[in-house]
């Protein structure tokens, strides 16, 4: 049904989505925590920056990422540590791009979850003898479990659907940066509509299932 190249693209997409989701959750928890509970004067600025990927065209985001990841940017300096020249057009670069691009989809639900949980149970835990990190893992994360799952699923699905940013910073290197969305684009360009159909359908069903799982878990408002 899918040829080897398409299967490879699908596998790469899933790998990228899984890796991005893992990185995102680690980053999003402290960021969402700060937005939900912090009193810092940078809060509003941070919130705006984190929402930027929602409004910027992927090409703009991709352009800046390209500069940042390229030989002249910090990404190039980072790549030089292990003898590379640039992070652009590599899986690592793609991963960094995905994380930036999908950050709001991880931070927003988590932040809402933390806000809904409120400070009350955290204070109760503190009085009962739980230290700060203990409170995060024993009260905040389990208390915001649904939001955590939503954040993970949305990050995963959003990364699967990424196109513009990938095109800008990843290009089309089989096994390295050629993800499903790029492969579909390529099939259409080549007028291979059959292949485009098959690959698109796989992504459609996969994304639907993911979102269905998220929304199925969401409790209905109490009557």
């Amino acid at each position: 049904m899918l040829n080897a190249a398409d299967l490879q693209a699908l596998w790469l997409s899933l790998k990228l989505a899984a890796a991005s989701t893992a990185v995102l959750l680690v980053l999003a928890v402290p960021l969402a925590w700060h937005l939900a509970y912090g009193r810092g004067r940078w809060r509003a600025g941070l919130e705006a920056v984190l929402a930027l990927p929602l409004v910027l065209p992927p090409t703009v985001l991709g352009f800046y990422l390209l500069l940042a990841l390229g030989p002249q940017g910090p990404g190039g300096a980072l790549a030089a540590l292990w003898g590379g020249r640039s992070l652009a057009f590599s899986f690592t670069g793609l991963l960094i791009g995905s994380v930036v691009y999908s950050l709001p989809f991880a931070v927003q639900p988590l932040c809402d979850g933390f806000r809904a949980l409120g400070r009350a149970p955290l204070e109760a835990a503190a009085v009962l003898g739980a230290g700060p990190l203990d409170r995060v893992f024993s009260v905040a994360l389990p208390g915001a479990r649904d939001s955590l799952l939503t954040a993970a699923a949305l990050s995963f699905a959003h990364t699967l659907g990424e196109f513009g940013v990938v095109l800008m910073i990843g290009g089309n290197i089989p096994g390295e940066t050629r993800v499903v969305s790029i492969a579909v684009y390529e099939h259409v360009e080549a007028l291979d509509w059959g292949a485009a159909h098959r690959l698109s359908a796989v992504l459609l069903v996969l994304s639907f299932l993911l979102l269905w799982l998220v929304y199925r878990r969401r409790p209905r408002p109490a009557a």
Partner: protein, 358 residues
């Protein structure tokens, strides 16, 4: 011993606290709503960071000048909030275990707390499946599982309806009567637990005053926001000794005490709370032979104070280790030459005895 010297500002509210408070017995914290009672408890527990100092038994908890603030986890004060604040993702047993594991409470002591608060049937339930009273009972038990050095109670009955209050109150009274754990209890009216207090802390106009001994506070009820507490009621835990249906009486008591009251539905051996209003107690110097009053108890006078009404005074009595008040005319006090330390007989009108209202 808690030494407080701080100023707490929360929005437009400001509370100045400068006092020394013994950490023992029951301390009632009173004051009008919005005076900062909750803020004071939060500052003690470490949830607020006021400017100033808090020292507990020589251990510095807060020292603004040195930028030092001991986190709540290390102060080991239990705090029961107005709302129960249970962990919704854990069942009752795990809520208790949460506290017990962090305090190193052993399983046996934990089982004792479960039994004491009658939580065995609720252990497997999630907080969402509990009534308001049950939740507050779990919150109290959970606070005890943390092995606190003192328990701060912030109007734990405020959010409950009358029936739930009636169910929870005996547990609070038992805690207070045990005397083992120091309690600081916030309330804004003179209720039953106030009658168990040893001293009163008062917040008014942004300033903490006291502690004053309860007897002194009762002498100036208005000033101490005790409302109509010029006539306080004693609250006793008693056991049902026997039922005398022939006489229409229930006999209660314990530890050298025997009281008759109009028959109530209770099984012998059951413990219950008994409210004795100061106006229903009179005193005599020798045991009367021909009084209509059946309850005559040997007592010792602990103090005499004005009752907040001209010509009336309030006598505080000790009866078999319990506290009792008598509201008398000043002329009677003078005629009987009542004075602290004197042994007297307290007559308690049986028909007036009642279980405490919720």
């Amino acid at each position: 011993m808690l030494e407080l010297d701080f100023v707490l500002e929360r929005g437009a509210h400001r509370l100045a606290a400068r006092t020394t408070l013994p950490l023992e017995g029951v301390t009632a914290l009173v004051g009008p709503s919005g005076a900062g009672k909750t803020g004071l408890l939060r500052a003690l527990a470490g949830l607020e960071r006021p400017a100033g100092r808090i020292v507990c038994d020589g251990e510095i908890w807060l020292d603004g000048a040195r930028g030092l603030c001991l986190p709540p986890a290390r102060r080991r004060l239990g705090l029961v909030f107005q709302e129960p604040r249970l962990f919704e993702h854990l069942d009752v047993a795990d809520n208790l275990r949460y506290a017990a594991r962090r305090s190193g409470l052993d399983a046996e002591a934990q089982a004792a707390i479960v039994a004491r608060f009658e939580l065995a049937p609720l252990l497997k339930r999630r907080p969402a499946a509990l009534s308001g009273g049950e939740r507050q009972r779990v919150a109290l038990a959970r606070a005890l599982c943390a092995r606190p050095r003192a328990l701060l109670l912030d109007e734990p009955l405020a959010a409950l309806d009358a029936a739930q209050r009636r169910r929870l109150l005996p547990h609070l009274q038992a805690l207070a009567l045990d005397g083992g754990l120091p309690l600081i209890y916030v309330t804004h009216h003179a209720d039953e637990v106030l009658a168990l207090a040893d001293r009163v802390l008062c917040i008014a106009d942004g300033t903490l005053s006291g502690p004053v001994p309860l007897e002194a506070a009762l002498a100036e009820p208005e000033r101490h926001h005790l409302g109509a507490a010029g006539s306080p009621a004693a609250l006793w835990r008693v056991r049902v000794l026997e039922q005398r249906p022939g006489d229409g009486l229930t006999v209660v008591g314990g530890e050298g005490l025997r009281l008759c009251l109009p028959q109530i539905a209770a099984a012998p051996g059951q413990t219950l709370g008994l409210r004795i209003d100061a106006a229903d107690v009179s005193l005599c110097l020798s045991p009367p032979q021909d009084s209509s009053i059946v309850n005559i108890l040997p007592a010792r006078i602990a103090g005499i104070a004005p009752a907040g009404q001209p010509g009336v005074c309030l006598v505080t009595l000790q009866v078999a280790g319990r506290r009792l008040w008598a509201r008398l005319l000043e002329v009677s006090c003078r005629r009987l030459a009542l004075a602290p330390g004197r042994a007297v007989w307290a007559q308690v009108k049986g028909a007036a005895l009642q279980r405490p209202p919720a």
